[in-house]
């Protein structure tokens, strides 16, 4: 059985370093399988977060050969195994140890976004009526598995550490899903512009490229939100139009 070397970020704090581990690989294996095998064979204390092994829980996010990926969805036959495969924790969050980072900041940010607030029910039985075409647009955003790979690759968080002022692509997708919902009545644009710092996004589309659910984050969520912010705060003609039409 062929062997491959995995260069894994191990340890915690300033003592963390890359360590090489060799293990057997076979057809159909993914990076997470290799990590589990290494845990079983030679590194029983190696910490990594995982759960479903099916690309749906978003737990095993890491950086494989420098690219933010889900370890359970990264097949070894897509990697060059003649050289060591590097596996690192995400870079935009506090490191705990080995491959584990503390992503709890994301949940605190999510709580700060106003929740769904539907209009009054359309029917006496307390139900609503919506057109499928109107729901289709936000359906894409519901695919998010909160793996936070988009947050990891976003340079505003990763390279500029704007966590206190910037919500990040995951929360723009979440906000877009609420803002564009045909039943929602809440206004989150002020929050997006100020606390969410959507203006920090400079549209590099890295978030879209790494999304394992293939959500078109930049084109369908972030830019439409930016345009809504322009409507509300930067476009004098739109504001004038609103004054005259009341819309």
């Amino acid at each position: 059985m062929p062997q491959a070397t995995f260069r894994i970020w191990t340890g915690a704090g300033d003592d963390a370093v890359f360590k090489d581990f060799a293990t057997d690989v076979s057809e159909g294996m993914v990076v997470l399988d290799a990590i589990h095998q290494i845990q079983a064979e030679s590194a029983p204390t190696l910490a990594c977060r995982w759960n479903c092994k099916a690309g749906k829980c978003g737990s095993c996010s890491a950086e494989v050969n420098g690219k933010p990926r889900l370890m359970c969805m990264t097949r070894l036959d897509t990697l060059d195994l003649s050289v060591p495969v590097t596996v690192e924790p995400m870079k935009s969050f506090p490191h705990v140890r080995d491959l584990v980072t503390d992503v709890s900041w994301n949940f605190r940010v999510k709580k700060s976004i106003k929740p769904f607030k539907p209009r009054k029910p359309d029917a006496p039985d307390g139900t609503w009526r919506m057109q499928q075409a109107d729901v289709d647009r936000v359906q894409e955003f519901r695919k998010c598995i909160e793996c936070f790979l988009c947050q990891d690759v976003c340079h505003v968080l990763r390279d500029h550490h704007k966590h206190p002022e910037f919500a990040g692509p995951r929360h723009f997708v979440y906000t877009a899903a609420l803002e564009m919902h045909p039943l929602d009545t809440e206004d989150r644009l002020s929050h997006m512009k100020n606390e969410g710092g959507i203006g920090y996004c400079n549209i590099t589309k890295c978030c879209t490229k790494v999304c394992p659910e293939h959500i078109t984050i930049t084109d369908n969520a972030i830019i439409p939100l930016k345009e809504r912010v322009v409507d509300e705060y930067y476009d004098p003609l739109t504001r004038l139009f609103k004054v005259f039409t009341g819309k």
């Binding site: 950086e63 050969n65 420098g66 690219k67 933010p68 060059d80 050289v83 590097t86 690192e88 870079k91 935009s92 969050f93 506090p94 490191h95 900041w105 605190r108 940010v109 700060s112 057109q131 109107d134 647009r137 690759v153 340079h155 505003v156 990763r158 390279d159 500029h160 550490h161 704007k162 966590h163 206190p164 002022e165 910037f166 919500a167 564009m180 919902h181 045909p182 929602d184 606390e195 969410g196 710092g197 203006g199 920090y200 996004c201 400079n202 549209i203 590099t204 890295c206 490229k209 930049t218 084109d219 830019i223 439409p224 930016k226 345009e227 809504r228 322009v230 409507d231 930067y234 476009d235």
Partner: protein
């Protein structure tokens, strides 16, 4: 956002990454492609000559619409100028640069491209290394001082939709230029229908520009994206939204194709006008 102190990994220097693929190719190609177009279009705009082909209606898109004929060609006339010869109240030179009809108009399509969402992402990477590529370290001096489009001056990128309005008007002008390029001056001194290679070149130009302009993110928003219930709009508007969304998915492709074709159309008109190339008449 959450104000809790986060102990984050140290910022990495420019180019630092574990990526093993050729991540630098895309920014380098963007740098070369956009850089070449900027250099060529600046050179072409400075010329003030050979922007139309006598005996035909061929007109370079970099000079269209011609508000005033260039002072360099006086007393000749291109036949395309809206307001005649170069007026005395516009200086002929600005410092060491020659003023030409292109300078009076190029700021509009240039501004449209400069503020375009696609190009912004592309040139932030290629020209400013912000970031140079996904998951690759940035210049350290920017660090936590990063302002993005949140503050001045890049806050001004929000003007994009106004450049869109101008770009739509220019699209009409360039479509008109394409239509009249099928009329040629005959031996009898009258204009007759004909088809030259130049006519085809000038026709492809607004088609590609249309693909780019009509796929604009701002247009997508204005035409229907701003509505939570798109089905509240008229059928025509819903159709337009779907059409713009379709083009929007190919925005990068049309951005590059149209950029290249604008440059090529100017080259074609210029070289035919100079007599270097012969325009072959198909009909």
């Amino acid at each position: 956002m959450s104000r809790v102190e986060l102990k984050l990994p140290q910022l990495r220097p420019l180019g630092a990454t574990q990526r093993t693929d050729a991540w630098w190719i895309q920014p380098v190609l963007t740098l070369l492609g956009l850089g070449a177009f900027i250099v060529y279009s600046t050179w072409a705009a400075l010329q003030g000559t050979h922007y139309w082909v006598p005996g035909t209606n061929y007109l370079s898109p970099m000079y269209s619409p011609v508000l005033f004929d260039s002072w360099q060609i006086a007393p000749a006339s291109s036949g395309h100028a809206w307001f005649g010869a170069w007026p005395d109240w516009i200086p002929k030179n600005l410092w060491v640069l020659s003023m030409t009809p292109a300078f009076l108009i190029l700021w509009a399509p240039g501004g449209f491209r400069f503020t375009c969402y696609y190009y912004r992402g592309a040139y932030y990477k290629a020209f400013w290394a912000d970031p140079v590529s996904c998951a690759v370290g940035e210049p350290k001096f920017r660090g936590t001082h990063y302002r993005g489009e949140h503050k001045f001056p890049l806050l001004l990128q929000n003007i994009h939709r106004y450049f869109l309005y101008l770009a739509l008007v220019f699209l009409v002008f360039l479509t008109y230029d394409a239509i009249i390029s099928y009329r040629f001056l005959g031996d009898d001194g009258q204009k007759h229908f004909g088809v030259g290679i130049g006519s085809l070149v000038l026709t492809i130009n607004p088609i590609l520009l249309g693909g780019y302009t009509l796929g604009c993110h701002s247009l997508r928003h204005l035409i229907g994206g701003k509505k939570d219930c798109i089905t509240d709009c008229s059928g025509a508007r819903q159709g337009a939204y779907r059409g713009v969304s379709c083009l929007n998915r190919r925005h990068m492709l049309f951005a590059w194709l149209s950029l290249f074709w604008v440059g090529f159309t100017d080259v074609y008109v210029r070289l035919v006008s100079m007599g270097t190339w012969t325009d072959i008449r198909i009909l």
